[in-house]
Amino acid sequence: MSVPDAPATPLADGPAAAPPARRVLAQAAFEARMILRNGEQVLVAVVIPVLALVGLVQTSFVALDTDGMSRVDFLTPGVLALAVMTASFTSQAIATAFDRRNGVLRLMATTPLGRGGLLAGKVLGVLAVEAVQVVLIGAAALVLGWRPDPAGVLLALVGVVLGTAAFTALALLVAGTLRAEAVLALANLLLLVLALGGGVIVPADRLPGPLATLAAWLPSGALGDVLRGALVDGALPLVPVLVLAGWTAVLGTLAARLFRWH
């Protein structure tokens, strides 16, 4: 199909889109900037995880069976998993829900960015925020004496990407189906519940009773186990990796089917 001839005008050289990569990167930078500029988001994404790490490592109010490891080696993977959840789930769900309510998603979908570019920009924006989190939390942990398995660092990045996929899919599912205020409440509540009882900081198998079994099958428990496997043992544990992949498939399919732009 072709565009019909337009009258000769100052616009005659014709409108054209920027190259796709530039559009997506611009959106990713925009998303990351919006999150990192928001005080509450920085608090949840960076300050609270770092304080939690420092507090749990430097004090012994919370008794931990660390399996003979130093407290910082035992806790850091879980704190990183928590940080991934705040960026890819809580903050993304809230931002997307309000953008949806305010028509931002629809407006950007009418620009050359389109819906696909918007989604890609959001995911890259989350990864950029996570890079900032990993650097700051990692630096704090190293200062506290953290000695991760060097072979596991790259594997841990694979775990971060897997966890991001599952939790971003969950974020889009709730943001695209519920009212913005409901998303605000749910996203914070779910983060708290999963952080305490979802096998993130305290491994699933240390949780009491049936919670131990349940948490291992949750994306939170699986992400915690993957990062602990990588950073403590230098290997990716197969079952938690499959659990995360399974959640990504299910949540991603549901989000694609149920997401409403209006």
Partner: protein, 311 residues
């Protein structure tokens, strides 16, 4: 100047949960023209333009914008289309200038954002976040965002909502400039005076279909009957009795009281009719405050077409 239809909508039908919102609507909008889609709230205006923007898929009918299908050919069409949504679509945490520059990055040859900001008076609040902008400031920013990519078809949904008169003037000036540059501008409004001010073509929409279309003069003239019947509206300084005037004018005229001090004389109005009317009023010692022949406003046409009851 030859016109090529930039927007062609045929038999558009859109339902939400079984409720028909757009019901067989036909609309064309030419390049180099401003087309107003005029109608009461809930008439289906927004849904129609959202189908043109590719934001909604029609349940039936066809939509072509610049010869392309807004849904199937979205990627090819988006660079050439500018959109201003009714609810703005601006993220609340972003600064005004930053938002404009961000959207400009989506285009290969955007307008100069500094110049555009100056044109629309965005400079005064360039570093203010959208959250803190007034309604009119948001609308001006949303318009800048809609046109920054040099679009050839521009859809503006209720563009002047919440705008002060100065903003509206600046906005209309830019809209006319876009039109003169060859773009097709399609705007929705429920304000008659807005359509009269800025539109070359008007489509009056009600209950999901176009019930009248034409230029503003054509629509206004449609109220004058072909047999020469016209309506003379006479406003007076004090109350008058219509039956006295009817008796003076004779049986070919009807005189109705529009309100206590306003009469409507309908019939084959001739120069003598005006003289007879004012003469009779002089005998009654009643001062004429306004005499209006056939000059209906678009509002009269609109209300005649869509009914005067509240909805």
């Amino acid at each position: 100047m030859p016109r090529s239809p930039a927007v062609e909508v045929h038999g558009l039908v859109k339902r939400y949960d079984g409720r028909t919102v757009v019901d067989g609507l036909d609309l064309t909008a030419d390049a180099g023209r401003v087309t107003a889609v005029l109608g009461p709230n809930g008439a289906g205006k927004t849904t129609t333009v959202e189908c043109c923007e590719g934001l909604r898929s029609p349940d039936a009918g066809t939509v072509r914008v610049l010869g392309l299908d807004p849904v199937a050919d979205a990627a090819a069409l988006r660079p050439a289309v500018g959109v201003m949504l009714q609810d703005g679509g601006l993220p609340t945490g972003v600064r005004a200038q930053e938002m404009l520059e961000h959207v400009a990055r989506m285009y290969a040859r955007p307008l100069d954002t500094g110049e555009l900001a100056e044109r629309l008076g965005l400079g005064a609040f360039a570093r203010t976040t959208v959250r803190r902008l007034s309604g009119g400031q948001r609308q001006r920013l949303a318009l800048a965002v809609a046109v920054v990519g040099r679009p050839r078809a521009v859809f503006l949904d209720e563009p002047s909502a919440g705008m002060d008169p100065q903003s509206r003037l600046a906005v209309w000036e830019l809209v006319r400039e876009l039109r003169d540059g060859g773009a097709a501008v399609i705007l929705t409004t429920h304000l008659m005076e807005e359509a009269e001010d800025v539109a070359d073509q008007v489509a009056v929409v009600d209950h999901g279909t176009v019930i009248a279309r034409g230029t503003v003069p054509q629509l206004l003239a449609a109220g004058v009957d072909r047999d020469g019947t016209a309506t003379l509206v006479v406003d007076t300084a004090s109350d008058v009795d219509p039956t006295g005037l009817a008796a003076r004018l004779g049986g070919r005229f009807t005189v109705e009281r529009r309100s206590g001090t306003s009469l409507a004389v309908s019939g084959p109005v001739a120069p003598g009719t005006v003289a007879a009317t004012t003469g009779w009023l002089a005998e009654q010692d009643v001062l004429v405050t306004r005499l209006d022949l056939g000059r209906r406003t678009l509002e009269d046409v609109f209300l005649d077409l869509t009914g005067r009851s509240l909805r």
